[in-house]
Protein backbone atom coordinates (compact mmCIF):
# COMPACT_ATOMS: atom_id res chain seq x y z
CA UNK A 1 0.00 0.00 0.00
CA UNK A 2 2.67 2.47 1.10
CA UNK A 3 4.74 1.46 -1.90
CA UNK A 4 1.86 2.19 -4.26
CA UNK A 5 1.29 5.65 -2.83
CA UNK A 6 4.97 6.50 -2.90
CA UNK A 7 5.30 5.27 -6.47
CA UNK A 8 2.32 7.31 -7.54
CA UNK A 9 3.75 10.39 -5.83
CA UNK A 10 7.10 9.83 -7.47
CA UNK A 11 5.48 9.33 -10.86
CA UNK A 12 3.57 12.59 -10.51
CA UNK A 13 6.72 14.46 -9.56
CA UNK A 14 8.43 13.17 -12.68
CA UNK A 15 5.47 14.04 -14.86
CA UNK A 16 5.24 17.56 -13.39
CA UNK A 17 6.45 20.12 -15.88
CA UNK A 18 7.60 23.65 -15.21
CA UNK A 19 5.15 25.95 -17.02
CA UNK A 20 6.35 27.57 -20.17
CA UNK A 21 7.79 31.05 -19.77
CA UNK A 22 5.27 32.66 -22.08
CA UNK A 23 2.16 31.12 -20.51
CA UNK A 24 -0.91 33.37 -20.95
CA UNK A 25 -2.14 33.22 -17.38
CA UNK A 26 -5.21 35.36 -18.13
CA UNK A 27 -6.27 32.71 -20.67
CA UNK A 28 -5.38 29.82 -18.33
CA UNK A 29 -7.61 31.22 -15.57
CA UNK A 30 -10.31 32.57 -17.87
CA UNK A 31 -9.64 36.23 -17.07
CA UNK A 32 -11.31 38.50 -19.57
CA UNK A 33 -9.31 41.64 -20.18
CA UNK A 34 -11.82 44.37 -20.98
CA UNK A 35 -10.69 46.64 -23.77
CA UNK A 36 -11.65 50.29 -23.67
CA UNK A 37 -13.77 51.49 -26.52
CA UNK A 38 -11.39 53.26 -28.90
CA UNK A 39 -13.89 56.10 -29.45
CA UNK A 40 -15.43 56.73 -26.02
CA UNK A 41 -12.61 55.31 -23.91
CA UNK A 42 -15.17 53.45 -21.78
CA UNK A 43 -15.05 49.86 -20.62
CA UNK A 44 -17.92 47.63 -21.78
CA UNK A 45 -20.81 46.99 -19.35
CA UNK A 46 -23.45 44.27 -19.23
CA UNK A 47 -26.47 45.22 -21.34
CA UNK A 48 -29.40 46.95 -19.62
CA UNK A 49 -32.53 48.79 -20.62
CA UNK A 50 -31.79 52.47 -21.16
CA UNK A 51 -34.41 54.93 -19.98
CA UNK A 52 -34.59 58.43 -18.59
CA UNK A 53 -36.54 56.88 -15.70
CA UNK A 54 -33.19 55.44 -14.57
CA UNK A 55 -32.19 58.97 -13.52
CA UNK A 56 -34.46 58.48 -10.51
CA UNK A 57 -36.59 61.62 -10.73
CA UNK A 58 -38.57 63.81 -13.10
CA UNK A 59 -36.63 66.74 -14.55
CA UNK A 60 -37.22 70.44 -13.91
CA UNK A 61 -38.59 72.40 -16.84
CA UNK A 62 -36.91 75.70 -16.07
CA UNK A 63 -34.51 77.33 -18.53
CA UNK A 64 -33.35 79.65 -15.74
CA UNK A 65 -32.21 76.71 -13.63
CA UNK A 66 -30.26 75.19 -16.53
CA UNK A 67 -28.66 78.61 -17.08
CA UNK A 68 -27.67 78.74 -13.38
CA UNK A 69 -25.66 75.58 -13.99
CA UNK A 70 -24.00 77.01 -17.11
CA UNK A 71 -25.97 74.84 -19.53
CA UNK A 72 -24.73 71.46 -20.73
CA UNK A 73 -21.08 72.49 -20.75
CA UNK A 74 -21.23 73.85 -17.23
CA UNK A 75 -22.96 70.72 -16.00
CA UNK A 76 -20.36 68.48 -17.66
CA UNK A 77 -17.59 70.43 -15.95
CA UNK A 78 -19.40 70.14 -12.58
CA UNK A 79 -19.87 66.37 -12.96
CA UNK A 80 -16.25 65.86 -13.99
CA UNK A 81 -15.03 68.01 -11.12
CA UNK A 82 -17.24 66.11 -8.65
CA UNK A 83 -15.69 62.81 -9.73
CA UNK A 84 -12.16 64.24 -9.60
CA UNK A 85 -12.71 65.66 -6.11
CA UNK A 86 -14.10 62.32 -4.96
CA UNK A 87 -11.19 60.35 -6.44
CA UNK A 88 -8.86 62.59 -4.44
CA UNK A 89 -11.00 62.47 -1.28
CA UNK A 90 -9.41 60.05 1.23
CA UNK A 91 -12.84 59.38 2.74
CA UNK A 92 -14.26 57.80 -0.41
CA UNK A 93 -11.42 57.45 -2.96
CA UNK A 94 -11.25 53.67 -2.45
CA UNK A 95 -14.86 53.30 -3.59
CA UNK A 96 -13.98 54.74 -7.00
CA UNK A 97 -10.75 52.77 -7.52
CA UNK A 98 -11.23 50.05 -10.09
CA UNK A 99 -14.41 51.57 -11.51
CA UNK A 100 -14.70 53.16 -14.93
CA UNK A 101 -14.28 56.88 -14.26
CA UNK A 102 -14.66 57.77 -17.94
CA UNK A 103 -18.12 56.26 -17.95
CA UNK A 104 -19.00 57.69 -14.53
CA UNK A 105 -18.13 61.23 -15.60
CA UNK A 106 -20.33 60.84 -18.68
CA UNK A 107 -23.35 59.25 -16.98
CA UNK A 108 -23.19 61.62 -13.98
CA UNK A 109 -23.12 64.61 -16.35
CA UNK A 110 -26.07 63.13 -18.26
CA UNK A 111 -28.03 62.58 -15.05
CA UNK A 112 -27.42 66.12 -13.76
CA UNK A 113 -28.15 67.58 -17.20
CA UNK A 114 -31.39 65.60 -17.49
CA UNK A 115 -32.57 66.48 -13.96
CA UNK A 116 -31.97 70.23 -14.21
CA UNK A 117 -33.77 70.22 -17.52
CA UNK A 118 -30.84 71.16 -19.76
CA UNK A 119 -32.04 68.80 -22.48
CA UNK A 120 -30.01 65.59 -22.15
CA UNK A 121 -31.07 61.98 -22.05
CA UNK A 122 -29.77 59.79 -19.26
CA UNK A 123 -28.32 56.57 -20.64
CA UNK A 124 -26.87 55.11 -17.43
CA UNK A 125 -28.21 52.41 -15.18
CA UNK A 126 -30.75 53.09 -12.42
CA UNK A 127 -29.42 54.12 -9.02
CA UNK A 128 -29.94 50.71 -7.42
CA UNK A 129 -28.12 48.83 -10.20
CA UNK A 130 -25.36 51.43 -10.47
CA UNK A 131 -24.53 51.21 -6.75
CA UNK A 132 -25.21 47.50 -6.18
CA UNK A 133 -22.69 45.53 -4.11
CA UNK A 134 -20.76 48.68 -3.18
CA UNK A 135 -21.76 48.54 0.48
CA UNK A 136 -22.18 52.30 0.63
CA UNK A 137 -22.90 54.04 3.92
CA UNK A 138 -24.54 57.38 4.65
CA UNK A 139 -21.12 58.86 5.44
CA UNK A 140 -19.99 58.03 1.87
CA UNK A 141 -23.04 59.72 0.42
CA UNK A 142 -22.48 62.78 2.62
CA UNK A 143 -18.89 63.01 1.40
CA UNK A 144 -20.02 62.84 -2.23
CA UNK A 145 -22.66 65.52 -1.59
CA UNK A 146 -19.97 67.77 -0.11
CA UNK A 147 -17.79 67.23 -3.19
CA UNK A 148 -20.72 67.99 -5.50
CA UNK A 149 -21.45 71.12 -3.47
CA UNK A 150 -17.79 72.15 -3.79
CA UNK A 151 -17.88 71.61 -7.56
CA UNK A 152 -21.09 73.63 -7.90
CA UNK A 153 -19.68 76.37 -5.67
CA UNK A 154 -16.54 76.58 -7.82
CA UNK A 155 -18.76 76.85 -10.89
CA UNK A 156 -20.65 79.73 -9.32
CA UNK A 157 -24.01 77.97 -9.12
CA UNK A 158 -26.33 79.88 -6.73
CA UNK A 159 -26.93 77.97 -3.50
CA UNK A 160 -30.70 77.70 -3.99
CA UNK A 161 -30.10 76.19 -7.45
CA UNK A 162 -27.56 73.78 -5.95
CA UNK A 163 -30.21 72.63 -3.50
CA UNK A 164 -32.74 72.13 -6.30
CA UNK A 165 -30.44 69.58 -7.94
CA UNK A 166 -29.79 67.92 -4.57
CA UNK A 167 -33.57 67.74 -4.07
CA UNK A 168 -33.80 65.53 -7.17
CA UNK A 169 -30.95 63.31 -6.01
CA UNK A 170 -31.87 62.97 -2.32
CA UNK A 171 -34.83 60.57 -2.71
CA UNK A 172 -32.61 57.94 -4.40
CA UNK A 173 -30.59 57.57 -1.18
CA UNK A 174 -32.70 54.50 -0.37
CA UNK A 175 -31.29 52.79 -3.49
CA UNK A 176 -27.71 53.80 -2.71
CA UNK A 177 -27.19 53.39 1.03
CA UNK A 178 -26.83 49.73 1.96
CA UNK A 179 -25.64 49.96 5.53
Amino acid sequence: MLLTIASAAAAMMVLQQAPAQDTDWDAEFGVEVKERDPVTGELPVAPYEQSNANAGAAPYGSAALAADFGGREGITRIATRTVELSEADPRIAAIFAGHDMVRLKRTLAEQFCYLVGAGCNYTGRDMRAAHAQMGLAKADLNALVENLQAAMREAGVPFAAQNRLLAKLAPSSKDIIER
Partner: protein, 348 residues
Protein backbone atom coordinates in the same frame (compact mmCIF):
# COMPACT_ATOMS: atom_id res chain seq x y z
CA UNK B 1 13.42 1.46 0.74
CA UNK B 2 10.33 3.13 -0.66
CA UNK B 3 11.28 6.43 0.95
CA UNK B 4 14.73 6.17 -0.52
CA UNK B 5 13.31 5.57 -4.00
CA UNK B 6 11.10 8.64 -3.72
CA UNK B 7 14.04 10.75 -2.68
CA UNK B 8 16.16 9.55 -5.53
CA UNK B 9 13.37 10.24 -7.99
CA UNK B 10 12.83 13.72 -6.51
CA UNK B 11 16.51 14.42 -6.84
CA UNK B 12 16.48 13.31 -10.47
CA UNK B 13 13.48 15.54 -11.10
CA UNK B 14 15.20 18.47 -9.50
CA UNK B 15 18.32 17.91 -11.51
CA UNK B 16 16.29 17.65 -14.68
CA UNK B 17 14.58 20.97 -13.97
CA UNK B 18 17.97 22.56 -13.28
CA UNK B 19 19.33 21.12 -16.49
CA UNK B 20 16.41 22.50 -18.47
CA UNK B 21 16.83 25.91 -16.87
CA UNK B 22 20.55 25.88 -17.51
CA UNK B 23 19.99 24.82 -21.10
CA UNK B 24 17.50 27.56 -21.82
CA UNK B 25 19.17 30.54 -20.16
CA UNK B 26 22.80 31.61 -20.37
CA UNK B 27 24.85 31.65 -17.19
CA UNK B 28 24.06 34.66 -15.02
CA UNK B 29 26.98 36.93 -14.15
CA UNK B 30 26.99 39.28 -11.19
CA UNK B 31 27.57 42.37 -13.31
CA UNK B 32 24.44 41.58 -15.36
CA UNK B 33 22.12 41.66 -12.32
CA UNK B 34 20.06 44.84 -11.92
CA UNK B 35 21.41 47.44 -9.55
CA UNK B 36 18.87 47.80 -6.75
CA UNK B 37 19.74 51.42 -6.05
CA UNK B 38 19.10 52.52 -9.62
CA UNK B 39 15.70 53.89 -10.60
CA UNK B 40 13.45 51.02 -11.71
CA UNK B 41 12.72 50.83 -15.40
CA UNK B 42 9.00 50.29 -16.06
CA UNK B 43 8.32 47.21 -18.10
CA UNK B 44 6.36 47.74 -21.28
CA UNK B 45 2.75 46.56 -21.01
CA UNK B 46 1.26 44.20 -23.60
CA UNK B 47 -1.67 46.34 -24.71
CA UNK B 48 -2.34 50.03 -24.47
CA UNK B 49 -5.80 49.79 -22.79
CA UNK B 50 -4.74 47.26 -20.20
CA UNK B 51 -1.53 49.17 -19.59
CA UNK B 52 -3.34 52.35 -18.62
CA UNK B 53 -5.65 50.53 -16.25
CA UNK B 54 -3.00 48.31 -14.72
CA UNK B 55 -0.63 51.22 -14.21
CA UNK B 56 -3.38 53.29 -12.63
CA UNK B 57 -4.32 50.46 -10.27
CA UNK B 58 -0.68 49.77 -9.45
CA UNK B 59 -0.13 53.42 -8.65
CA UNK B 60 -3.05 53.36 -6.23
CA UNK B 61 -1.88 50.11 -4.64
CA UNK B 62 1.72 51.22 -4.28
CA UNK B 63 0.97 54.82 -3.33
CA UNK B 64 2.99 55.63 -0.20
CA UNK B 65 1.05 56.42 2.95
CA UNK B 66 0.77 60.02 4.01
CA UNK B 67 3.69 61.06 6.24
CA UNK B 68 1.42 61.37 9.28
CA UNK B 69 -0.56 58.20 8.58
CA UNK B 70 -0.56 55.55 11.27
CA UNK B 71 -1.87 52.03 11.53
CA UNK B 72 -4.78 53.49 13.50
CA UNK B 73 -5.87 55.46 10.44
CA UNK B 74 -7.85 58.60 11.22
CA UNK B 75 -10.16 57.03 13.77
CA UNK B 76 -9.65 58.94 16.95
CA UNK B 77 -11.38 56.38 19.15
CA UNK B 78 -12.82 53.10 18.01
CA UNK B 79 -14.38 50.39 20.15
CA UNK B 80 -15.46 47.34 18.18
CA UNK B 81 -17.20 48.67 15.09
CA UNK B 82 -18.32 51.89 16.75
CA UNK B 83 -16.41 55.02 15.81
CA UNK B 84 -16.27 57.85 18.31
CA UNK B 85 -16.03 61.51 17.33
CA UNK B 86 -15.27 60.75 13.68
CA UNK B 87 -17.98 63.06 12.34
CA UNK B 88 -19.38 62.69 8.84
CA UNK B 89 -22.67 64.55 9.17
CA UNK B 90 -23.53 67.31 6.73
CA UNK B 91 -23.04 70.80 8.15
CA UNK B 92 -25.84 72.12 10.36
CA UNK B 93 -27.81 68.86 10.15
CA UNK B 94 -27.15 68.32 13.85
CA UNK B 95 -29.09 71.55 14.48
CA UNK B 96 -28.26 74.19 17.03
CA UNK B 97 -29.07 73.69 20.72
CA UNK B 98 -32.31 74.62 22.44
CA UNK B 99 -32.62 76.33 25.81
CA UNK B 100 -33.28 72.87 27.26
CA UNK B 101 -30.11 71.32 25.82
CA UNK B 102 -31.66 69.37 22.98
CA UNK B 103 -30.65 69.51 19.32
CA UNK B 104 -32.98 72.01 17.67
CA UNK B 105 -33.43 75.67 17.00
CA UNK B 106 -33.16 78.26 19.75
CA UNK B 107 -36.48 77.66 21.50
CA UNK B 108 -37.99 74.75 19.56
CA UNK B 109 -36.95 71.11 19.77
CA UNK B 110 -36.19 69.47 16.43
CA UNK B 111 -36.15 65.80 15.40
CA UNK B 112 -32.43 66.12 14.67
CA UNK B 113 -29.84 64.20 16.68
CA UNK B 114 -27.00 66.07 18.41
CA UNK B 115 -23.38 65.42 17.46
CA UNK B 116 -21.68 65.10 14.07
CA UNK B 117 -21.72 61.27 13.91
CA UNK B 118 -23.28 59.18 11.17
CA UNK B 119 -24.81 55.72 11.64
CA UNK B 120 -22.28 53.49 13.36
CA UNK B 121 -20.71 56.41 15.18
CA UNK B 122 -21.01 58.21 18.49
CA UNK B 123 -20.66 61.97 18.76
CA UNK B 124 -20.86 64.66 21.38
CA UNK B 125 -22.05 68.23 21.56
CA UNK B 126 -21.62 70.97 24.12
CA UNK B 127 -23.26 74.36 24.25
CA UNK B 128 -23.57 77.62 26.14
CA UNK B 129 -26.42 80.09 25.68
CA UNK B 130 -27.14 83.55 27.04
CA UNK B 131 -30.27 85.70 26.75
CA UNK B 132 -30.36 89.33 27.77
CA UNK B 133 -33.83 90.72 28.52
CA UNK B 134 -34.95 94.11 29.91
CA UNK B 135 -35.50 92.66 33.38
CA UNK B 136 -33.93 89.21 33.36
CA UNK B 137 -30.86 87.30 32.29
CA UNK B 138 -30.75 83.67 31.12
CA UNK B 139 -27.59 81.53 31.16
CA UNK B 140 -27.60 77.88 30.21
CA UNK B 141 -25.05 75.28 29.27
CA UNK B 142 -25.12 71.58 28.65
CA UNK B 143 -23.81 68.48 27.01
CA UNK B 144 -25.30 65.89 24.69
CA UNK B 145 -24.29 62.51 23.32
CA UNK B 146 -25.56 61.29 19.96
CA UNK B 147 -25.63 57.62 18.94
CA UNK B 148 -25.75 57.26 15.18
CA UNK B 149 -28.80 58.83 13.61
CA UNK B 150 -30.89 57.26 16.29
CA UNK B 151 -30.53 58.41 19.89
CA UNK B 152 -29.70 61.63 21.69
CA UNK B 153 -29.11 61.96 25.43
CA UNK B 154 -28.69 65.43 26.88
CA UNK B 155 -28.20 67.23 30.14
CA UNK B 156 -28.45 70.97 30.66
CA UNK B 157 -28.49 73.53 33.44
CA UNK B 158 -30.29 76.84 33.13
CA UNK B 159 -29.91 79.81 35.49
CA UNK B 160 -32.48 82.58 35.32
CA UNK B 161 -31.34 85.75 37.05
CA UNK B 162 -34.23 87.97 38.23
CA UNK B 163 -31.93 90.96 38.90
CA UNK B 164 -33.86 94.00 40.14
CA UNK B 165 -37.15 92.28 39.40
CA UNK B 166 -36.33 89.80 42.16
CA UNK B 167 -36.64 92.51 44.75
CA UNK B 168 -39.92 93.78 43.27
CA UNK B 169 -41.33 90.24 43.27
CA UNK B 170 -40.26 89.73 46.86
CA UNK B 171 -37.76 87.00 45.93
CA UNK B 172 -34.73 89.07 46.84
CA UNK B 173 -32.40 91.17 44.71
CA UNK B 174 -30.75 89.02 42.01
CA UNK B 175 -32.56 85.86 43.00
CA UNK B 176 -31.72 83.16 40.44
CA UNK B 177 -33.96 80.26 39.49
CA UNK B 178 -32.11 77.11 38.45
CA UNK B 179 -33.32 74.09 36.58
CA UNK B 180 -31.73 70.85 35.39
CA UNK B 181 -33.05 69.15 32.25
CA UNK B 182 -32.32 65.54 31.33
CA UNK B 183 -33.41 64.80 27.79
CA UNK B 184 -33.70 61.77 25.57
CA UNK B 185 -34.75 61.70 21.94
CA UNK B 186 -35.21 58.74 19.62
CA UNK B 187 -35.49 59.04 15.84
CA UNK B 188 -38.25 56.69 14.73
CA UNK B 189 -38.54 57.39 11.00
CA UNK B 190 -37.37 59.44 8.06
CA UNK B 191 -34.33 61.55 7.38
CA UNK B 192 -33.78 65.30 7.63
CA UNK B 193 -32.10 65.52 4.20
CA UNK B 194 -32.40 62.23 2.31
CA UNK B 195 -35.37 60.15 1.25
CA UNK B 196 -38.70 61.36 -0.05
CA UNK B 197 -39.49 65.04 0.49
CA UNK B 198 -42.82 64.20 2.10
CA UNK B 199 -41.28 62.04 4.83
CA UNK B 200 -39.65 64.19 7.53
CA UNK B 201 -37.28 62.99 10.21
CA UNK B 202 -39.57 62.04 13.07
CA UNK B 203 -38.43 61.67 16.66
CA UNK B 204 -40.08 61.05 20.00
CA UNK B 205 -38.56 62.27 23.21
CA UNK B 206 -38.85 63.17 26.84
CA UNK B 207 -37.38 65.93 28.95
CA UNK B 208 -37.21 65.33 32.66
CA UNK B 209 -36.86 68.68 34.44
CA UNK B 210 -36.07 69.40 38.04
CA UNK B 211 -36.22 72.83 39.61
CA UNK B 212 -33.54 73.48 42.20
CA UNK B 213 -35.77 76.03 43.95
CA UNK B 214 -38.38 73.68 45.36
CA UNK B 215 -39.64 75.92 48.18
CA UNK B 216 -39.74 79.05 45.99
CA UNK B 217 -41.67 77.52 43.09
CA UNK B 218 -44.16 75.93 45.47
CA UNK B 219 -44.49 79.30 47.16
CA UNK B 220 -45.35 80.81 43.75
CA UNK B 221 -48.18 78.28 43.45
CA UNK B 222 -46.61 75.48 41.45
CA UNK B 223 -47.91 72.00 42.19
CA UNK B 224 -44.53 70.34 41.80
CA UNK B 225 -40.83 71.13 41.50
CA UNK B 226 -40.16 68.44 38.88
CA UNK B 227 -41.93 67.26 35.79
CA UNK B 228 -41.61 65.45 32.51
CA UNK B 229 -42.30 66.80 29.03
CA UNK B 230 -43.17 64.39 26.23
CA UNK B 231 -42.40 65.46 22.66
CA UNK B 232 -43.01 64.33 19.10
CA UNK B 233 -41.01 66.22 16.48
CA UNK B 234 -41.01 66.21 12.69
CA UNK B 235 -38.27 68.09 10.85
CA UNK B 236 -37.41 68.25 7.15
CA UNK B 237 -35.02 70.18 4.97
CA UNK B 238 -37.03 70.83 1.80
CA UNK B 239 -34.07 71.08 -0.58
CA UNK B 240 -36.12 72.24 -3.54
CA UNK B 241 -37.02 75.38 -1.56
CA UNK B 242 -33.92 75.49 0.70
CA UNK B 243 -36.42 75.51 3.58
CA UNK B 244 -36.20 73.81 6.92
CA UNK B 245 -39.61 73.07 8.40
CA UNK B 246 -40.13 71.80 11.93
CA UNK B 247 -43.15 71.06 14.08
CA UNK B 248 -43.04 69.67 17.60
CA UNK B 249 -45.90 68.70 19.85
CA UNK B 250 -45.01 68.97 23.51
CA UNK B 251 -47.16 67.54 26.31
CA UNK B 252 -46.07 69.53 29.34
CA UNK B 253 -47.03 70.98 32.70
CA UNK B 254 -43.99 73.28 32.95
CA UNK B 255 -44.28 76.93 33.97
CA UNK B 256 -41.73 79.04 32.02
CA UNK B 257 -39.98 75.83 30.88
CA UNK B 258 -40.04 74.62 34.50
CA UNK B 259 -38.13 77.52 36.04
CA UNK B 260 -41.30 78.33 37.98
CA UNK B 261 -42.14 74.71 38.69
CA UNK B 262 -44.80 72.48 37.21
CA UNK B 263 -48.58 72.88 37.16
CA UNK B 264 -50.53 74.68 39.85
CA UNK B 265 -53.17 73.95 42.42
CA UNK B 266 -55.78 75.06 39.90
CA UNK B 267 -54.40 73.25 36.82
CA UNK B 268 -51.99 70.50 37.65
CA UNK B 269 -52.26 68.48 34.47
CA UNK B 270 -50.20 68.35 31.30
CA UNK B 271 -51.29 70.36 28.28
CA UNK B 272 -50.45 69.95 24.62
CA UNK B 273 -48.29 72.75 23.20
CA UNK B 274 -46.88 73.46 19.75
CA UNK B 275 -43.37 74.46 18.67
CA UNK B 276 -42.74 75.51 15.09
CA UNK B 277 -39.65 76.52 13.14
CA UNK B 278 -39.15 77.79 9.62
CA UNK B 279 -35.60 78.27 8.39
CA UNK B 280 -34.11 79.36 5.08
CA UNK B 281 -30.72 77.94 4.10
CA UNK B 282 -28.51 80.74 2.75
CA UNK B 283 -25.48 78.52 2.27
CA UNK B 284 -24.02 75.27 3.52
CA UNK B 285 -23.01 77.14 6.65
CA UNK B 286 -25.74 79.71 7.21
CA UNK B 287 -29.43 79.62 8.01
CA UNK B 288 -31.91 82.29 9.07
CA UNK B 289 -35.37 81.63 10.38
CA UNK B 290 -38.22 82.19 12.73
CA UNK B 291 -39.57 80.11 15.61
CA UNK B 292 -42.67 80.02 17.71
CA UNK B 293 -43.42 78.17 20.92
CA UNK B 294 -46.74 78.07 22.73
CA UNK B 295 -46.75 77.73 26.51
CA UNK B 296 -49.40 77.08 29.15
CA UNK B 297 -50.26 79.63 31.84
CA UNK B 298 -50.84 77.38 34.83
CA UNK B 299 -49.85 79.98 37.45
CA UNK B 300 -52.08 82.76 36.09
CA UNK B 301 -49.08 85.11 35.77
CA UNK B 302 -49.91 85.94 32.16
CA UNK B 303 -47.24 83.58 30.77
CA UNK B 304 -46.89 84.28 27.05
CA UNK B 305 -45.99 82.26 24.00
CA UNK B 306 -42.41 82.76 22.81
CA UNK B 307 -40.99 83.57 19.39
CA UNK B 308 -37.58 84.31 17.92
CA UNK B 309 -35.84 85.36 14.73
CA UNK B 310 -32.56 83.50 14.43
CA UNK B 311 -29.41 83.31 12.36
CA UNK B 312 -27.09 80.32 12.67
CA UNK B 313 -23.62 80.04 11.18
CA UNK B 314 -21.21 77.10 11.16
CA UNK B 315 -17.86 78.86 11.55
CA UNK B 316 -16.06 75.54 11.29
CA UNK B 317 -17.26 71.95 10.99
CA UNK B 318 -17.31 71.83 14.77
CA UNK B 319 -18.32 75.31 15.94
CA UNK B 320 -21.76 76.78 15.28
CA UNK B 321 -22.84 80.19 16.51
CA UNK B 322 -26.47 81.26 16.78
CA UNK B 323 -27.79 84.75 17.36
CA UNK B 324 -31.46 85.56 17.76
CA UNK B 325 -33.89 88.27 18.57
CA UNK B 326 -36.29 86.79 21.13
CA UNK B 327 -39.71 87.95 22.26
CA UNK B 328 -40.66 86.17 25.47
CA UNK B 329 -43.66 88.45 26.14
CA UNK B 330 -44.68 88.62 29.80
CA UNK B 331 -42.39 86.77 32.22
CA UNK B 332 -43.30 86.61 35.91
CA UNK B 333 -45.69 89.57 35.49
CA UNK B 334 -42.99 91.70 33.78
CA UNK B 335 -44.24 92.45 30.24
CA UNK B 336 -42.30 93.20 27.07
CA UNK B 337 -39.38 90.85 27.62
CA UNK B 338 -37.71 91.23 24.22
CA UNK B 339 -34.00 90.85 23.84
CA UNK B 340 -31.05 89.07 22.32
CA UNK B 341 -29.89 85.47 22.44
CA UNK B 342 -26.43 84.21 21.61
CA UNK B 343 -25.44 80.57 21.65
CA UNK B 344 -22.29 78.66 20.84
CA UNK B 345 -22.22 74.95 20.08
CA UNK B 346 -19.17 72.73 19.77
CA UNK B 347 -19.83 69.30 18.24
CA UNK B 348 -17.78 66.26 17.24
Amino acid sequence: MTLFASCVLAACHGAAVLAVAAGEAPAVRIEDLPVLDAAPQPEPMPTAGAATRNTALAQIALKPLAPDATALSDDIVRIGRTRFFKGGKLLLTNGATTLEGSSGGGIARWATIAGRQVPGGVGVSGHATAIELPDFGWRSYGFAVGVGDRLELSIARANFDTRDAGAVLGLGQGYTFNIDTFGAKLRVAGDLVYGEAWLPQIAIGIERKRSRDSARVRGLGAADDAGTDYTVSATKLLLARSLLVNATLRYTAANELGLLGFGSAASAGHKLQLEGSLGYQLSRRAMVGVEYRSKPDNLGLGEDDWMDLFAAYAITDHLTLTAAYVDLGRVATFPGQRGGLVSAQVAF
